[in-house]
């Protein structure tokens, strides 16, 4: 882009060739902030990950050895497993329930706006505060959840206090919290669907399920994909809820990468190793997003390929 002074431009082209002014001055302050708090930390993290860097100890450059250490760290590998299970469940359940909720909220009924506001309260509420209340509800002796189970004849559970049930229990909280976001995105998709296909389906006498399966679902697929992507990114990074309810426990049964990263960096102050975890963690999220994009592309390709 060539920059000419306004005066020169005005002289050269009096009326017709009016030049669009530069908008850079509007962006510069934000650019400074973004460089300071996003780009600089990123570059510095990469640099730290290449060093043996502990608080209070002189740092030494160690190349990729922090990354090599990751491959032989059973606690990290276990954390990756926990993260993947937690993420898979925390994407699928909200997608399923959120779509159902969106189909219902797409109907017209009195008080819809207000009830939608109530429905999205879980995701806007302060995570630590709701985590605290869920902890009380999970309590094996005094918790209300075991009481509710006893009403339908199910024996009491240990919920977050047992290694085998801690991740499903946390996923329950995550699902409760984030189903509304999926609902909102899918609801936006439903609102964008034209009415013609429904009218012709009605004339043809299609059942509710057939309409949903063959008209609604394909049309909201792009929105489901976006919702799934956002859900994946948030579920992988989930921290507040897990930290407030279990701190990764019992033992390390619910320790995800993010919680392990916290321990390494801020409990053991192993900054270099923590930075390496942060970099790998970021790459893992990017990789998961890439896999989802690839699967989506393949699905589109088979759909159009099947038609032709």
């Amino acid at each position: 882009m060539t920059e000419t002074s306004p005066v020169a431009a005005h002289d050269a082209a009096p009326e017709k060739q009016w030049r669009r002014p530069s908008y850079w001055p509007f962006v510069v302050p934000a650019l400074v902030v973004v460089i300071a708090i996003i780009i600089f930390p990123w570059l510095f993290t990469i640099w730290m990950s290449l060093n043996e860097w502990k608080v209070g100890v002189p740092t030494t450059f160690v190349g990729l050895s922090n990354y090599l250490r990751l491959t032989g760290d059973p606690r990290f590998i276990e954390a990756v497993g926990h993260t993947l299970v937690y993420t898979a469940l925390s994407v699928l359940l909200p997608l399923l329930l959120g779509t159902l909720a969106a189909v219902v909220f797409h109907q017209k009924f009195a008080g819809r706006g207000f009830l939608r506001g109530v429905f999205i309260m879980p995701m806007m509420a302060t995570p630590v505060a709701i985590g605290l209340v869920w902890t009380m509800m999970f309590h094996p002796q005094l918790g209300v959840l075991n009481y509710l189970l006893s009403l339908v004849g199910i024996p009491p559970q240990l919920w977050v206090f047992h290694p085998a049930t801690v991740i499903p229990s946390l996923v329950l909280v995550e699902t409760w919290q984030w189903t509304p976001l999926v609902m909102l995105i899918v609801l936006g998709g439903l609102a964008a669907i034209p009415t013609e296909p429904y009218e012709s389906a009605q004339i043809d006498g299609a059942s509710f399920w057939q309409v949903f399966r063959f008209i609604t679902l394909p049309l909201i697929m792009p929105f489901l994909f976006i919702a799934g992507m956002i859900r994946m990114i948030d579920a992988v990074k989930s921290f507040d809820i897990i930290f407030a309810i279990t701190q990764g426990g019992p033992g390390s049964a619910s320790e995800t990468i993010n919680l392990y990263l916290y321990s390494v960096a801020f409990a053991y102050y192993d900054i270099g190793y923590g930075s390496a975890i942060a970099v790998i963690f970021f790459l893992l999220i990017v990789a998961l997003a890439a896999v989802m994009l690839y699967v989506r592309q393949r699905m589109l390709w088979t759909e159009t390929g099947g038609d032709a």
Partner: protein, 274 residues
């Protein structure tokens, strides 16, 4: 009304009830916990509405002098972080939208994907080096990591939909870029700014992860203070639940009253902090 449509109505209302009840019941139970004395909270089967309300739980939390400190901390951090992000982010969203610099969105995307903890390590060292730990400044700055991308993202989307004709007319009439922004673009963008403001406030207010690392005893925000109550000071449920409800109540209120803006913001950018 035919029988079929009446049945349909009943079915719909039943479905609505099933869908909203987890949210409603949870917050009612939260309120119930916060209003019960220890005896009622330890009762089995659980008591939903107690005979005697323990308003004391609330007055105790509100009366403790620390609570006021933490409340003010939260107000200062959220207020400053939101104000700064609007000052910086609204013009940036405008500039990016007008330059059609769509590639710049990639930085926002990276910020969106990056786990909050990744920023904490380098910025923690930086704040330590600058000697800022122990003040609220580090928390205000690091909350910008969350609020600035939200504001920029929402404002790009908003300014892209506002008409250009008025702005171009004003420019041809000799207004400066700044005047055009200030007197033409900004007034039209008020609803968008409201959306950005509300979401920035909520995500900053709720933020926890930055506080647990950066906050000292005197600089805790409310979410961190509540978490510390769990681990150290309090073991009885009533006051804990009361504190939790007090912390999240402003957000819940905002959610119900500004749900149109929140829905618009979340579905437009589908952004979330943290």
């Amino acid at each position: 009304m035919t029988l079929r449509s009446i049945l349909g109505r009943i079915g719909l209302w039943f479905a609505v009830l099933v869908i909203v009840s987890p949210a409603i019941l949870f917050f009612l139970w939260m309120a119930s916990l916060s209003l019960k004395f220890e005896i009622d909270n330890a009762a089995y089967p659980p008591v939903f509405i107690p005979e005697h309300f323990a308003w004391k739980n609330y007055t105790d939390v509100l009366a403790s002098n620390r609570f006021l400190t933490y409340f003010v901390n939260s107000l200062v951090v959220t207020g400053c972080a939101t104000a700064l992000s609007l000052i910086v982010g609204v013009p940036a969203g405008y500039g990016i939208a007008r330059m059609a610099a769509h590639k710049s969105a990639i930085v926002i995307l990276i910020a969106r994907i990056t786990p909050g903890l990744s920023y904490l390590i380098p910025l923690f060292l930086l704040f330590q080096w600058l000697g800022l730990l122990g003040t609220l400044v580090p928390q205000i700055i690091i909350h910008l990591v969350v609020t600035v991308p939200i504001v920029i993202w929402i404002m790009i989307g908003y300014f892209e939909t506002t008409p250009m004709e008025l702005e171009e007319a004003a420019l041809i009439d000799g207004a400066t870029r700044w005047q055009v922004f200030r007197h033409v673009a900004l007034p039209i963008a008020k609803p968008g700014i409201a959306v950005a403001f509300i979401l920035a406030v909520i995500f900053s207010w709720n933020n926890f992860v930055f506080g647990i690392v950066l906050a000292g005893r005197e600089t805790r925000t409310l979410p961190v203070a509540v978490y510390n109550m769990i681990s150290f000071d309090q073991l009885s449920w009533g006051p804990l639940a009361a504190a939790a409800l007090i912390v999240t109540f402003p957000v819940l209120l905002l959610t119900v009253f500004a749900q149109r803006q929140i829905v618009a913001g979340l579905t437009a950018g589908a952004v979330k902090g943290g």
